[in-house]
Symmetry: none
Subunit: 225 residues, 4 copies
DNA sequence: AATGAATGAGAGTTCATTCAT
DNA sequence: CATGAATGAACTCTCATTCAT
């Protein structure tokens, strides 16, 4: 689909590159920032390096993001944007049992979050949240709360349908979250929590934990592996 | 017991201070450093602040510890010194079943480590280990390896006595360690993994996890709740 | 040649400054550094002062040179770069007698090195070499060795042509170097070796020393004043 | 010769040691300081190290010498004290020819100064004099001026007796001083001025230079090798 | 829009000097 | 007298952020 620009592109490829890039810029910066934040943490990531990895100059970074903190927030937004809406829709449409729903939630979390670079952001927040309260608050409201709300939906659905026992739902949420967080850490701080020589299969671990958690949550009649 | 000095102290508190300090200094500095490292992490803790919290000047800190990294190592040593020897002795003397021994290990870990400030150092290492490889190596050799060795002893005792199934011991160690690490994190990164409104009772959690783990480790005859 | 900018310059000197600076910076910094190193020595020269003299801030210095030691090396390189190549070429082309060549060498050394600020670097190395072994090694390989090699060429030419006596060439080199070093010191440590009230004419001194040295080096037939 | 103290010494050896030491203290400090100043230079010598080498504490150093600069001055005084008076007396008593006197001066300078640690102080002053103007002034008035005065006596004696040509005496002084200074430097900055592999025999060098200088100074009738 | 040179507050570390003991 | 713990100014080097171009 030829656009007006595609014509100019041919005459002036340099400019074209620029123009195309212009739109891509923030995205490239966010990519680079995600990489580096995950690799080194927030404080230890230097703005200049983010810019360099995105192939732009330091100044350009601050053109798009007024500060390192805002850059971080944008990274989070970029990676979370629409996710919860999408998941809420999937859940609306989900027709199986709630135990199956929970299994699905956990598996899908691993596939779409845990296994991706973004899980490094979770680790980063655990590591540096105390030092950057504003970021912690942002992450809390942007990720933690929506995530918990999602899980709450699942648990309440289970309870409403008689599949799950009546329970302190907050506690239930936390039971589901715990293994995810552990996996995240195991993945990103290898040397300290997991012996490097011992491999840990995440899918297997998640599946196992799902059953364990379900064992605790379900009514006798509600449970179905 | 009022001494002559206690009287002088009131008139001339500075003098008293000096006298008391000389020997207490390193300990006070290690206390302050532990507090701050746990609170802010390694990189974000400023030497001057450690000194200030210990009530001395920047220069004094470097009188006792030649660098921030050495200060950190000293904090670790101070809090680990003798622990593993002591535990090994306790284990030598332990006469109960190995499942009981494991329960004991986990409970005692919580009491003596997890519940104390020092658990913050574990969290710190998970957070910043990548950025300070020398510290990571030190922690690995000073804490992680001896800790794993200790657990290995327990597991091998269980296997030898027929209480535990034959297993990949490394994997077993990791199963035991996982909940400890999770608890550590939950404690030190409140906002992120655990919803502040939901309290998590550590003793209860540890006890529960001990049973879960035992469920996986024990032979049918070896298990005794 | 008045350009449009020269007009603007008067209205907006800051802008002009910036533009001029970008490329001039490293040179300005090297100039300032040479001045200060010569004036105060290496250790006593503060980075900030170098920056200030070059009209920039502390940070800017480190933008161009990653450390004070590298700055020093750059100063040496800047002032030595190409010199030895150039001299070797001059020597290749030299057609006169070897005694004349030696006279030329010494005179030209004074003109191009001894009389310039750079001779202060030689003094600096004698003063502080022991405290900065890496710099000493650098200077040794970058200046002392090439310089000695150059002199060796001269002496060996003289021997080969029968103008100089067979000799321990190393010793000969040192005989030539001695007065240069003395002059350097006399120049840069006025108060100590030379009474300030007594002027010492360097050209005259060098010429005299050249003859003295030649007296020792030449064969009867080779010598020609 | 038993003094009252020698009695006490036997009863209380520790105290005796102290008492004896007390008198020796400043001397030990001056010894240590000389060593270190020569080895590292003035600025790079740490007060604490001087104290340590003298076997006392940092505080004690400042008990005897109110500052590092005063310590340095004391080192100079200690090593120069009485020297010039002594030499003046030797010169008063000297009965030989003035050329012999000059030979004697140079030889004796090497034996009593050049060959000793103290020559390092001369090198130090050349190195750091610019950075410590007060020390430079002190050294100038305490060493340089008296030394030059001594040489002036010799030269003027030679002129008066018709052995030396009438001359600019200041220039003559400097001709005598130059080789001494060079030797001093060659000794203390080996790597830079003299190739380590080439040994330079100081006595021989001094003797040679004496004759060279005399060649320039003497009247035809006055000269006698 | 994009650049990258420039900034300057602030970090860890050193050391001459002081002073309570 | 002697100590050595304590100080704090000074140093080198870093990096988020600015702004003239």
């Amino acid at each position: 689909m030829p656009t007006p620009r595609s014509f100019v592109d041919k005459l002036c490829p340099v400019r074209a590159k620029r123009e195309r890039r212009k739109e891509a810029r923030p995205g490239e910066l966010l990519e680079a920032a995600l990489d580096l934040f995950v690799e080194k943490g927030f404080a230890a990531t230097r703005s200049e390096e983010v810019a360099a990895r995105a192939g732009v100059s330091k100044g350009t970074l601050f053109l798009y993001f007024p500060s390192k903190e805002e850059l971080f927030k944008a990274v989070v937004r970029e990676n979370v944007a629409g996710r919860f809406i999408e998941w809420n829709q999937e859940f609306d449409a989900f027709e199986g049992s709630t135990p199956d729903m929970l299994r699905y939630v956990m598996r899908v979390w691993w596939e779409r979050v845990g296994a991706t670079r973004f899980s490094g952001i979770t680790k980063l927040m655990m590591s540096e949240g105390n030092n950057f309260p504003e970021l912690a608050a942002f992450y809390q409201s942007e990720v933690v709360r929506p995530g918990h709300a999602l899980l709450r939906r699942v648990l309440e659905r289970g309870i409403a349908r008689g599949e799950f026992k009546p329970m302190d739902v907050n506690l239930g949420i936390y039971s589901v979250v715990a293994p995810m967080i552990f996996l995240t850490l195991a993945k990103h701080s290898s040397g300290i929590c997991v012996d490097p020589s011992t491999a840990l299969d995440p899918e297997q671990y998640i599946a196992l934990q799902a059953e364990t958690v379900l064992g605790g949550l379900c009514t006798p009649t509600g449970y179905a592996a």
